[in-house]
Amino acid sequence: LTSVLVHSGAAVPIFADDQHYAFRANAAFKSWAPLTDVPDCFIFFEPGRVPILLFNSPLDFWYKSADPPQGYWTRHFDIRAVAARSAARALLPADLSRTAFIGAADAEISSWGVGSVNPAKMVAYLDFARAVKSAYELACLRKANHLGARGHIAAARCVCRGRHGI
């Protein structure tokens, strides 16, 4: 194996409906990039090369695509917008037989010819590494808790003032 393909995940449709359940990117993908709410994004990485981020931006009459990513982290990726999974596949090497796929591989992805899907040793190593948070991840946790605490304090004040609406 010489490269890895990490999937953000797939949107799960609601039975007999035209909507999907709320999407959450999987943890292995989020450790690469703070892109948490866009399904069918991929990161392709070969050691020594800039990772490629295939950003899912479908053309759709009914649904607005996610805006292209911006911010402090985007310069670390070669970002390419793709309108469909087939377009993502076309931008990847034709031969993926030496590529490890990380994510929930459905039938379509399984047909891409990846060499290995979630190899156990690799996933165990990566999961273990994620248990130790980087300084960046700690900063994110602190910021998130700061924002969350503001909400809790605001809610507590409302309850104390009898505005809880119960």
């Binding site: 450790s31 703070p34 020594g48 030496r98 590529t99 190593y125």
Partner: protein, 31 residues
């Protein structure tokens, strides 16, 4: 002393390098 915790640009650069190194040194090459 500046609040380094809010310098997400620098912090992410370090994080990104660590993630790439994590994949490069252990996986997939040594599996």
């Amino acid at each position: 002393m500046p609040d380094r915790a809010l310098d997400f640009d620098t912090l992410f650069a370090e994080h990104s390098e660590a993630v790439r190194e994590r994949y490069a040194t252990r996986s997939p090459s040594r599996i």
